[in-house]
Structures are given as C-alpha cells and as structure tokens.
Amino acid sequence: MVTFVVAISLNFILPRLGHSNPVDTIMRKVHTPGMTSKEYKKRYEEFMVKFGLMDENGKKTTIVRQFFSYVGTTLKGDLGVSFTKYPKSVWDILKTALPWSLWLQIPSIVIGYILGNILGALAAYKRGIYDKVFYPLSLFLMSVPYFCLGIVLVYIFGISLEIFPPSGGYAMDMMPSFSFAFFASVLYHYILPFMTMVLVFIGGQAIGMRSMSIYELGTDYVKYAKMLGIKERTIVMYVIRNAMLPQLTGLALALGFAIGGALLIEIVFSYPGVGLALYTAILEMDYPVIQAGILIVTVSLLAMNFIIDILIGLLDPRVRISHESRVE
C-alpha cells in the first residue's frame, strides 16, 4: 500500500521537475496560422484551466493543489488526455496496448518459471555432463539482456532467415477480429518475442533453482529419508517442493526485471504493447501518456507481487506457523 502511494507521488513529482510547460506543446499543435494573439491567449488559458494549471480566475494553481487533483482524477479512472494525440484520451491509447503487454509477459513468465525450475532441479540432481553443459548455458542466458537477445533473434530468424515475422503483433493487412486467421497471425508474430522472454527468464530461474536444489539435496532430512528406504522419486519431490519456496520470493524480485525487459522487447519487435506506447510517448514528449503508462506498469507489478505473497503464505508452512507456539 505504502509502495503504491510512493509510486503515485513519484509519478507525479518527477516529470514536473523539468521546466517545460506541457501546454506549450499542445499550443504548438493547435496553433493555426492566422490566429490573432488575443485568440491565442484565450485558447492558452482555456487549456491551462483544463489541465488544472490555472484556476478560472487566471491565477496559477499551486503544485499541492495540482497533486491532489491528479490523485483524485486518477483514482476515478480518468487518466487524462493525451497531449500529442489531442483530443484522444490517454486511456484510449493505452487500453488497446495493455492486453498485448500482459499477453506477452504473463505466459512467458509462468512458463519460464516452471521450465526453469524443473531444468535447474534436474541439473542439481543429475550432475555430471548434463550439468557441465547446462550450467554455462543457463548462466549465459541469464546474463544476456532481454532486448539484446531479442535483437539477435529478430536478426537471425526475422530478417536473415525470414522464418518469423520481424515486427508487429499481427500481420499488417489484418484487422483485429475473432477469426481463426487472426489468431493464427497473432501466434505467428508472438513466437519470437515470447521465446526471447522465456529463454532469458529460464536462465535466471534455472541457476537459482540449481543452487537451492544442491543445498536441499545435502540436507539432513534427505539423508534420513534415504536411510529409511523412501523412494528416490519421493525424495526428489521433497527437494523440489522445498527449493521452490525461496524461488517464489526470488520470482517477486525477478519480476521487476522481466517486466522492464518485456517493455524493451516490445520496442525491438515493434510489438503493440505498453512499452511501445511509452517509447512513442517519450519521443513525442506526451507527458500524460508517459505518466499513465508508468502508473499502469507499476500497478500491475505491485499486483503480481501481491499475488505471489499470498501464494507463498499458502504454500509454505514455515511462514504460516512461525507465529504459533511450540509443543513441549
């Protein structure tokens, strides 16, 4: 909760640290040749009022007031109006972008998490040659920046070999619809960005899981279980379950990087998500869109963190019980 408040405040304060007056940008757009200076001034003031920078009496509003009105309107769901694409509202611009971003991020994170952990556990268990090859490979994947891998993949598969399309969310001559052809096109365009996300994410998860599993495999309870004749398979399940829990905590941290990476991947692939929208907005100095975009990303990140926290509480008895008393 506190984080949310801080996030909103930062979101508000930071852009305003610069000195440019956003209304100037709009005026440039709205300005038509032949406008008299009187008309210009009038329009200017209209906009100032509209954007809360000046109240009706012509006095400039204070920052504090601006802040509160910002918070108020945002919470009501009104994210404001775009500067450069005036009069389009920010929400209009972002609402089509958001699903694309989530569609890229969520499946790749979930699949990457599951696969990465399984591979990591396997490497810890099998050791030997499998591990010797696997370990450097996943270390490499983990350290490759998301967008770098994206660039490499796009170049090799998208441009050189032309196996996959290099850009866009779907074929350019198609309109979004519920047809099979559309879905097929979406999937086709999905593969490269998806693979980029998944590969890097797997790298990180696998390395972490491998270390955790190695640790768990050496614990006393594993030795004891073996001595009691418990099946190998059951013991492996123990290890995986116990190693997963700290991994979940790690997931919450890795999410921040993954989402950041996803945004950059959108730029590389021209994928129509929030990342690309942010990029365009930055180029055009479209402040409301930038602000709202960041807000949305932060909120979704916080939401995901929250879900993970709940999951951990449910799955890890150690967390659940730490408050209760012991039995003598």
Binding site: A7, P15, L17, C148, Y155, I294, V297
Partner: protein, 279 residues
C-alpha cells in the same frame, strides 16, 4: 589475498575477468585503435564493412567501428560509475541499518523494499525524461540511485550477523566511536562480499544504461552502445538487415554482462564453499 590466489585457479574467473578487462583495455586505449572521428558524417550511409570502414557506416554515414569503440568506452564509464554509486549508497545504508538494528533498521528496510519493488527502469524513465541536460555522470548517478536496494539488503544481512562478534563488542567496550567500529571492525570482513556485489552492480549499471538509451533517454554528451542500437532502430537499420549498425553493439553489451556474471559466479564458488561442486 589467499582467496585471490584461489580465484586465479578457477578457469571461470580467469575467463570472465580476462574478457571484461580486455573490453576496458580497448575502451581506454581506444584512440590508439582508431583515428576516425565517430561523429564525422563523411561517408555514404549504410555501407557494409570495407577496408576504410571496418564495420561499415550507419544511417548518417558515420564510421561504425570507431563509434563502437567510443560507445564501448562511454557505456563502460556510465556502467562502472553507476556501479560505484550504487555500491556506495547501498553499502552505507546496509551497514547502518544492519548494525544499528531497531527502528533505524526498520525504517531503512522499508525504504529499501520500497525502492526494490519499483522497477528502476520506470524511475529512470521518469527522471531522465524530466531532466534535459543529461550528462554521462548524471545518468550514472541516477542509475546508481535506483539500483542500490539490492546491495543494501545483502550488506545489511551480512552486517547484522557480524555485529555480535567478539571483536566488535570488544571495540565497543573500549569506547571506540561508531564510525571507527564500522570502518575497522565490520567493513574489512564484508569486503569480499561487497566486491562481489560491486561486480553485479556494474553489470546492472551497464544494462540499465543500455536500457534507457534504447528508450532514447541516454546521456546526451556522448555516444553509448545502447544509443548506437537505438539509432539503428530509428533509421530502420533493423529491417534493412544492416547488421553492422547494431549487431556489434548488441554482442558487446552481452559480452560485458556475461563476463561480469561469470566473474561473480566464480567468486561465489570460492567464497561460499557450500556451492562448490563435489566430485
């Protein structure tokens, strides 16, 4: 020092360190490698590699090879500086919080967690967007100021486990002030850890710089690897298949990251024997 010798025995460490140091070497001694001014728009745009221009030219007719070297140097500068900032800030916060405990620690931990959850990239976008004169040093500072939480957490944990050791209590009893205790009793012991963390912070610094440069928000007073890629993208080098305009920079960024991670992993293997492989 003993540990350093152990490190040298690890092939991973040697490989990673060599790679990274080589990059630094090239970056620093860059003027010796290329005499062409990277900003000179002298040649035809988008020409492939040739004897005149080893890595061809970009969309504005600038020599890619020298741009690459220059970019390497800038990226390294920003990355390392950012790493230094982040490590210093994080270590100070971590040590103070870990040692003091109590409400000081609680507050600092809260702040740390706060910053940790908000992805640095977003804060970077916000800050970089509002400041027009973004010098390399400033960018490095901003990156450092958003990526320190990781260090703080790690250092704090180490410090709080150290603070109950005998030599610390002894120093306290002898009336040493808190600053000297922190410097003489605790810092030396966590040095190897801090160094490891510094390596990661450097890697993060380089990465973050490349990331915001990709967004078009990089330093304005030089060319960095990230900006090279960004420019390539803007001038459609991607779709035209002009690999020389962006691939080398991409590969270089990856190489820097990888070498640093390798060094870090090998250090972990030496300093944390539990993870050492059994035969």
């Amino acid at each position: 020092m003993k540990q350093f010798k152990l490190l040298l025995r690890s092939p991973w460490f040697v490989f990673g360190a060599a790679m990274f140091l080589f990059c630094i070497f090239v970056g620093v001694l860059y003027p010796m490698f290329s005499h062409t001014d990277p900003l000179l728009r002298g040649a035809l745009p988008f020409e492939g590699p040739s004897p005149d221009h080893w890595l061809g030219t970009n969309g504005e007719g600038q020599d890619m090879f020298s741009a690459l070297l220059f970019g390497l140097r800038s990226s390294l500068f920003v990355g390392i500086a950012a790493g230094i900032f982040a490590t210093i800030i994080g270590t100070i916060i971590g040590i103070v919080g870990g040692y003091k405990g109590g409400w000081v620690d609680n507050v600092l931990t809260l702040v740390t967690n706060l910053f940790m959850v908000i992805p640095s990239i977003l804060v970077l976008i916000l800050i970089a967007n509002s400041i027009e004169k973004r010098s390399m040093l400033l960018v490095a500072f901003i990156i450092g100021a958003t990526t320190w939480p990781w260090t703080a957490r790690a250092v704090s944990a180490q410090t709080s486990s150290l603070k109950n050791r005998e030599h610390v209590s002894l120093a306290k009893l002898n009336g040493y002030g808190i600053i000297s205790i922190l410097c003489m009793q605790i810092l030396p012991y966590i040095m190897s850890y801090v160094f490891m963390v510094f390596i990661i912070q450097m890697a993060t610094g380089i990465l973050e710089e490349a990331a915001i440069s990709m967004m078009g928000l990089g330093p304005y007073d030089s060319v960095t690897l990230g900006q090279i890629i960004n420019q390539a993208q803007k001038t459609e080098a991607f779709s035209n298949g002009n690999w020389w305009a962006f691939m080398p920079a991409t590969v270089l960024i990856t190489a820097l990251q990888f070498s640093l991670y390798v060094v870090n992993t090998s250090m972990e293997g030496v300093f944390n024997p539990r993870l050492r492989k059994e035969s």
